[in-house]
């Protein structure tokens, strides 16, 4: 069952591109083409605007919350080629670090799983991926750039739950692993989509020694990739949708996949006991019903 518990008028003046809640589900950050990032307190159904972050000069594409043990940092990336990491101070957010070493729009930011420390992956249209690592001893952000990871740009990055971050772009997905010498090495390239891959998402691993990636594409398809060793991947089509699929997102337990299409349709999918994927709900304006029960 999907029932709306809160609806927040963000006051953004242009299209919203991302909305994420923090680790505890107490704060909501949104970003928009109006170049701003807004942070709301959504504790127990409220929606208080805490801060309106202005620091970008272009549309802000994506935001990401860090694990609270690093102080609830918020990273945002923008068309202005910058990545900004914001830090909370007294319920306000100040610019903590700015990374401007990309040559084109930065389309995706993701914090690494907290186990790896404070790391941020950024994927840019310039074809490169940056991995920013914070060194708590020196208080310095160290940036490693993977050049030409994707010839014409990276649309989305996603960290594997284990140690492997994944990146992707057009019609293929690269998946890189940190190996000797701190080099990022492409581990696997997943090619099946016939158009831009709009988003990728590693499923959080919950006790299963199996890797699952969901990818969605301009070609209106969503593909589920599974692997036992991160090297050999099997793919299966989840579904072919009516419109471009922009976003895939796993639930925290990794058992539900939310798929967002360009026709504003958001659907939820899960795997039945036979392992096949089934539609469990349409989130049409949030009035969804689980239809298999």
């Amino acid at each position: 069952m999907v029932s709306i518990i809160n609806s927040i008028d963000t006051g953004h003046e242009d299209m919203i591109h991302d909305a994420e809640v923090d680790y505890y589900g107490l704060r909501l950050a949104t970003c928009s083409s109006d170049t701003s990032v807004k942070v709301y307190d959504i504790k127990s159904g409220s929606s208080t605007l805490l801060d309106d972050l202005k620091g970008h000069f272009g549309p802000v594409w994506q935001i990401a919350w860090s694990h609270p043990k690093f102080g609830n940092l918020l990273a945002s990336c923008s068309y202005d080629r910058k990545v900004i990491i914001w830090k909370e101070q007294q319920r306000k957010w100040v610019k903590y670090y700015e990374y401007a070493n990309h040559d084109s729009s930065v389309n995706s930011v993701q914090f690494a799983p907290a186990e790896f420390g404070l790391m941020l992956a950024c994927g840019s249209s310039d074809g490169s991926i940056s991995v920013l690592t914070y060194n708590p001893e020196t208080n310095i952000w160290d940036a490693k750039k993977i050049q030409n990871a994707h010839a014409i740009g990276c649309n989305a990055v996603s960290w594997a739950p284990a140690i492997t971050p994944l990146f992707d772009n057009e019609a293929e997905q690269h998946f890189r692993n940190q190996e000797d010498g701190d080099q990022w090495v492409e581990e696997a390239k997943l090619e099946i989509h016939s158009d831009w891959v709009r988003d990728v998402a590693w499923a959080p691993s919950v006790g299963l020694h199996r890797y699952i990636i969901a990818s969605c594409s301009q070609d209106r398809r969503v593909v589920i990739w599974t692997s036992d060793d991160c090297l050999n991947w099997e793919s299966s089509f989840l579904h072919t949708f009516d419109d471009v699929v922009w976003n895939v997102s796993w639930s925290l337990n990794g058992n539900i996949l939310a798929v967002s299409g360009g026709d504003n349709k958001i659907t939820l999918w899960d795997q039945n006991s036979e392992g096949t994927w089934q539609l469990i709900s349409d989130v049409a304006k949030g009035q969804g019903q689980i239809n298999n029960q």
Partner: protein, 1217 residues
């Protein structure tokens, strides 16, 4: 950014949109020569190969052509595998038609040729609606529409335009399929194919223009762009056919003629053009900037780019053939331009010309860093998305196109577009309603404790025999006598078996007549000589085991053991080993050796015989063995589970669970229910449950599943208090998410603050005690547990208030009499933390009685439980203290003492503190009391009584023997006026019996520290809320202790009980009692008296403690108020401050209930900070800010108080430290 490069001078066409991967066709350009003067031509196919780094594109195939191309196009129609068709326009009116699929396979791809045109065919375009239609234009104003199904008879869109000119481009409308645009150097003609005639001609009479290319707007049917290749007017014009007299806009930026342009099909805000100024520009043709808005200069090349083609599949890519012999593919997404070596073919072909060659190839100065668009393209803009948050939250947003369209439509000229509400929705996703439902049921069952019933239900519900068994086993664990029940289940009904046995037992007795053996005499001798060992030996030899054993019993345990051993050595069989085990208590061997099929017997045996300590281990051992056997017999695994249940071994049980708990939520739920019950059972047996290993995994998995369904609070209950990292982090997350704990980052900050706060404020026991009774006075707490008292207390204060449901509690009345309490309060505090408590106390007393008095109460409680005998020992140190406190100026100055005295009367007569005033008299008795308890007489107590309530006419009181009746009389009038229930409760014998209940508890609880928390529940709350309460309230509480006291005492001192019961009411029951019991001996009495005193103080118990992070706030405000009231000279100010106190209480209440918005809280904390810094003016500013904020309705009740407080502090120049 240039991403790919082909060394060809060729016209290009992208593969159609539906094709993957992207390919590029290149047909050798006409009118171009290379150094070899070759006139050969070819049509080639390249793969874009974007995934490979580097500029090379992979050549798929190449086919020679007899003619060079002026233009090529690639449509999706025809050919197998929907590769489509490539059409090239050549000189001499020739068009060549290729099959793309054949071309890609390297076969002869030329499938058609038509020479209907005259002159070079420059113009070609596929219809985007009917893929089989394409238009061509060539010399003599000739336009043909072709159908790929039949290319022999092209049709003409209408009469040729005069004068005859070359047609430079044709283009189909993107919205209306029968509209075609064509450009002539002097004009642009739009044709309607249904009418077969030109419908409009566009000419610009103002400027000298030579039209080269036309491109339709991808979305607006009536708009098109025209590019002029005239160097004097290198412009692009945007026309709207509805207003065709002049162009809408003119885009001016090229410095020389524009050779080509292309409009992006995916984003109508993007238009690219290339010109003879060697630049490639990207425009926003819809922008209203004068002269057009250049979004980006995509590239600046060495030579002209003579065409530009937008990739239909990947809108970020454009291909530009250049006269320098290269076809470049650019990305509009910026990035660093990679420098490609422009090898000059011509130079290569003329060896020795190196010297000259330099000139025509000017190297570009530097790399253009980046050329991304100043405006993001549409395709980057994610319009919709969803993400999950903790607790099954789903965050969604979308781009409501209809709302936007409406807003744009309704917009009035000159007004901004109406605001569009862009919302984010948060939804709760519940995918396992069944699980949630069951977990709620389970929780209820656990909460209400009807375990047995639940187990039975579960057992009845299932059809599976094994499951039934399991639940019955669990149920057995909750029975009065679990072992018996378990035995029943294993098939041994004790009664049955006993009755069976009894049948035999009688008969056996007869068989005992046995002839005396030969060696009887020997034995006899040995026995006679008391050589027991020898006798035993002889008996054994004679196989007279019974005799041997009997004899051995007289020879001491040593001999007996040896004898048993010998006997058992010589016998064999199951029975023997059973006996062995019973005798040797070595059940392990039974378990290991028994036939596995008789595991039930083994289980029965250990259930019967094993000690409580051993039982779990033995059951586990049996279970392990069964599990090991399960390899051969799967059923054993289930039996093993039963054993694990008996042993309470969670790890094993969970590990051996047959269901697929990891995947099936139903199995998981079943297992968790099982475990939860087992856990209760084990706890009931007094064992600690260690949540670790498999159990921790299971529970955290279950909890995270519940959390993902939004049942955060329920999830939390399953996490226990393990330190398992995974569990701990989940627990932490749940706590924070539920708002029970500040988040990580905040926590750190707050801890710092708190610690500093502690240092500075530790002196104020009242506040500390208030908020964290346990933390602050841990020592005191365990020692003085008297939960029942606590309950009383709560009742009392309430009654005083009249607002709370005290009547329901019979106890309270009794406690009401316990007034003496106030004396104690000082005492208790001291033992705990003497230094801090003493000094601040006065102030704290004034501000919040509850806190101050609360502490003492605990100590008090101790007493009853400790029992009267022990008083002397435990109390001795205390009494002196209280006395001193008592007499200390601070106290006396405060009406505190008297008030406590009067407490009872006050309550009874009038809730008002006013009565206190007369009290001074009682004070005197008290002090004297303390000073000389022995001297104290019944009369003594009378005094207070009379003074307080002479109206009672209870002079009789003094006599301990008078007992309850007199007391009743005395007390009742007042009590009645108050609340009948109360009075009866306290005075009536039956009520007393009720009180017994609480008394019993104290004894138990005395040993049990757990009861402590109870305190927290009640006391503090009532006090603060009573505006006046401070004084009257505490006395009541102390009182409570009193009833307890007497009850205990009765056993010890006969006289005492009566006195206590009856007297309680007078201020100092303790004293009273002592007095009343003179017979017992003064010394003892004295002791008790002293003891009593400390005991009485009322316990403070905040109903819901103020959240830790806000305690600081309360501390500071209270302290400031107290200091102010100290300094304040005139009564008016004092009154004000009293009022402030009330308002502050409202604030605290809101803090407790977490009613304040984060914003308000932040500001309040800020204000606290300012107060600590002594910056009251700043505080007042902040106050104004707060009051003018949006939360006023919420905070209006207490904000005025803060203001007055700040003003007073400012006025009185009071500063904290």
């Amino acid at each position: 950014m240039k991403v790919k490069d082909i060394e060809r001078t060729a016209n290009v066409a992208w593969s159609p949109k539906n094709q993957h991967p992207i390919q590029l066709a290149a047909g050798t350009a006409a009118q171009q020569l290379d150094a070899s003067f070759s006139t050969s031509a070819a049509i080639e196919m390249y793969s874009l190969n974007l995934t490979e780094p580097g500029p090379d594109m992979q050549l798929i195939s190449s086919q020679a052509s007899d003619h060079r191309f002026h233009k090529i196009i690639w449509g999706s129609f025809g050919g197998d595998q929907s590769k489509g068709t490539i059409i090239g326009g050549c000189d001499g009116g020739l068009i060549q038609i290729y099959s793309a699929s054949k071309l890609s396979k390297g076969e002869d791809a030329l499938i058609g040729k038509q020479e209907k045109h005259t002159g070079p065919v420059h113009a070609l375009d596929f219809n985007s609606f009917q893929a089989n239609l394409f238009a061509t234009g060539a010399g003599d104003s000739e336009i043909f529409i072709w159908d790929l199904n039949n290319t022999n008879t092209p049709m003409s869109p209408g009469a040729k335009c005069q004068p005859l000119e070359d047609i430079l481009s044709v283009s189909w409308n993107k919205q209306v399929q029968h509209i075609l645009a064509s450009t002539f150097p002097s004009k642009c003609v739009i044709w309607d194919l249904r009418k077969n005639e030109p419908i409009i001609k566009l000419t610009d009479t103002v400027s000298r223009i030579r039209w080269k290319v036309v491109a339709w707007h991808p979305e607006v049917a009536t708009q098109l762009c025209l590019a002029s290749e005239e160097d004097h007017s290198p412009i692009i014009q945007l026309w709207d056919l509805r207003f065709a007299t002049s162009p809408l806009k003119t885009l001016e930026n090229h410095q020389r003629g524009v050779l080509s342009l292309a409009w992006c099909a995916d984003d109508s805000d993007l238009l690219v053009s290339c010109g003879k100024d060697s630049r490639i520009l990207c425009w926003n043709p819809n922008s209203n900037q004068p002269n057009g808005e250049v979004l980006s200069e995509v590239a600046r090349t060495n030579q002209w780019s003579f065409d530009i083609v937008w990739c239909p599949k990947n809108p970020a890519l454009i291909a530009c053939p250049n006269f320098d012999g290269h076809i470049a593919v650019y990305s509009l997404m910026g990035g660093k331009t990679q420098q490609f070596q422009t090898t000059n073919k011509i130079a290569d072909s003329f060896p020795g010309m190196d010297g000259y060659v330099q000139a025509p190839v000017p190297q570009p100065s530097t790399v253009t860093v980046s050329a991304d668009l100043t405006k993001p393209p549409k395709w980057l803009k994610k319009p919709v998305g969803a993400s999950f948050g903790f607790g099954g939250q789903l965050i969604t947003f979308e781009n409501d196109k209809t709302a936007i369209a409406q807003a744009v439509q309704n917009v009035q000229p000159g007004e901004p577009v109406a605001k569009i509400h862009r919302t984010v929705q948060i939804s709760q996703v519940i995918t396992e309603p069944e699980l949630v439902k069951k977990s709620v049921e389970l929780e209820k069952a656990l909460e209400y404790g009807n375990f047995i019933e639940y187990c039975l239900n579960k057992a009845d519900q299932t059809d599976d025999q094994h499951t039934k068994y399991i639940w019955h086993f669990l149920k057995a664990n909750f029975e009065q006598n679990p072992r018996v029940e378990l035995l029943n289940l294993v098939g041994y009904r004790i009664e049955d078996i006993n009755s069976k046995l009894s049948q035999y037992v009688g008969k056996e007795l007869q068989n005992n007549v046995d002839g005396l053996a030969d060696d009887f005499s020997n034995m006899n001798r040995a026995l006679l000589l008391n050589n027991v060992e020898a006798a035993v030996e002889l008996c054994l030899k004679a196989k007279r085991f019974a005799d041997a054993l009997i004899i051995a019993t007289t020879g001491g345990p040593d001999l007996l053991a040896r004898t048993q051993h010998k006997y058992l050595d010589q016998t064999e069989g199951y029975i023997a080993s059973l006996i062995t085990a019973i005798v040797s208590e070595d059940w392990g061997s039974i378990i290991n050796d028994c036939d596995i099929s008789s595991w039930k017997e083994a289980l029965a045996a250990i259930l019967t015989h094993a000690s409580d300590e051993d039982l779990p281990a033995l059951c586990q051992q049996l279970g392990t063995r069964l599990e090991a056997e399960s390899k051969t017999d799967p059923k054993r695994a289930k039996d093993a589970q039963l054993c694990y249940i008996c042993s309470g071994n969670f790890d094993k049980l969970v590990a051996s669970w047959s269901g697929d708990a990891a995947h099936s939520t139903r199995d998981l739920q079943d297992l968790v229910e099982l475990v939860a019950f087992l856990q209760r059972a084990v706890e009931r047996q007094g064992r600690q449950v260690q949540i670790s290993g498999a159990l921790a995994d299971l529970l955290s998995h279950y909890a995270s599943l519940l959390a993902s369904q939004g049942s955060l609070a329920t999830a939390l209950t399953y996490l226990g208090s393990t330190q398992n990292e995974k569990v701990a982090s989940l627990r932490d997350r749940l706590h924070v998410a539920l708002g029970q704990k500040p988040s990580y980052a905040q926590e750190i900050r707050q801890q710092n603050r708190r610690s500093s706060q502690r240092q500075s404020f530790s002196n104020y026991p009242s506040t500390n005690a208030f908020n964290q009774p346990q933390g602050q006075y841990p020592v005191a707490a365990p020692q003085f547990n008297a939960p029942p008292v606590v309950q009383f207390n709560t009742g009392l204060p309430n009654s005083g208030m009249g607002t709370q449901p005290w009547q329901t509690q019979p106890g309270p009345p009794a406690s009401g009499f316990g007034q003496p309490g106030r004396t104690f309060s000082p005492a208790p505090v001291q033992p705990v933390a003497p230094p801090p408590s003493q000094p601040p106390r006065p102030t704290s007393v004034g501000s919040s009685h509850g806190g101050a008095s609360g502490l003492p109460s605990r100590k008090y409680l101790l007493d009853p439980s400790v029992s009267s005998n022990q008083y002397g020992i435990s109390r001795n140190p205390i009494p002196p203290q209280p006395v001193s406190n008592f007499q200390s100026p601070a106290y006396s100055s405060n009406p505190y003492v008297p008030s406590s005295f009067n407490a009872a009367p006050v309550n009874a007569f009038a809730p008002n503190p006013v009565p206190l005033v007369p009290n001074p008299t009682p004070v005197a008795p008290n002090t004297s009391f303390n000073a000389a308890p022995p001297a104290a007489d019944p009369n003594f107590q009378l005094n207070p009584v009379t003074s307080m309530a002479s109206a009672y006419g209870n002079p009789a009181h003094p006599a301990g023997s008078v007992g309850q009746s007199s007391v009743d009389r005395a007390n009742q009038p007042p009590v009645n006026s108050f609340t009948p229930g109360a009075s009866s409760g306290w005075n009536d014998p039956p009520l007393l019996s009720k009180q017994v209940r609480p008394q019993v508890k104290p004894e138990l609880q005395a040993a049990d520290p757990i009861t402590h928390p109870l305190y927290g529940a009640a006391p503090a709350q009532p006090f603060p809320t009573n505006g006046y309460g401070d004084m009257s309230a505490p006395p009541n509480q102390p009182y409570n202790a009193a009833p307890v006291y007497p009850q205990n005492q009765p056993q010890m001192f006969q006289a005492a009980p009566a006195a206590a019961a009856g007297y309680g009411q007078p201020f100092n029951p303790g004293n009273f009692n002592q007095n009343a019991v003179p017979g017992m001996g003064q010394a003892q009495q004295h002791v008790t008296q002293q003891n009593v005193r400390p005991e009485t103080p009322p316990p403070p118990k905040p109903v819901a403690p103020i959240p830790e992070e806000h305690i600081h706030m309360k501390t500071v405000f209270d302290e400031l108020r107290n200091q102010c009231s100290y300094v304040a000279a005139n009564p008016q100010t004092k009154r004000k401050l009293d009022d402030v106190g009330r308002k502050l209480e409202m604030l605290y209440d809101m803090l407790r209930e977490n009613k304040l918005s984060p914003n308000t809280l932040a500001l309040l904390h800020q204000m606290v900070q300012l107060i600590q810094n002594g910056d009251y003016t700043g505080g007042l500013h902040l106050h104004t800010q707060l009051v003018s904020g949006s939360d006023f309705a919420q905070i209006g009740c207490f904000m005025p108080g803060l203001k007055v407080l700040l003003q007073c502090a400012l006025q009185l120049q009071v500063y904290l430290r």
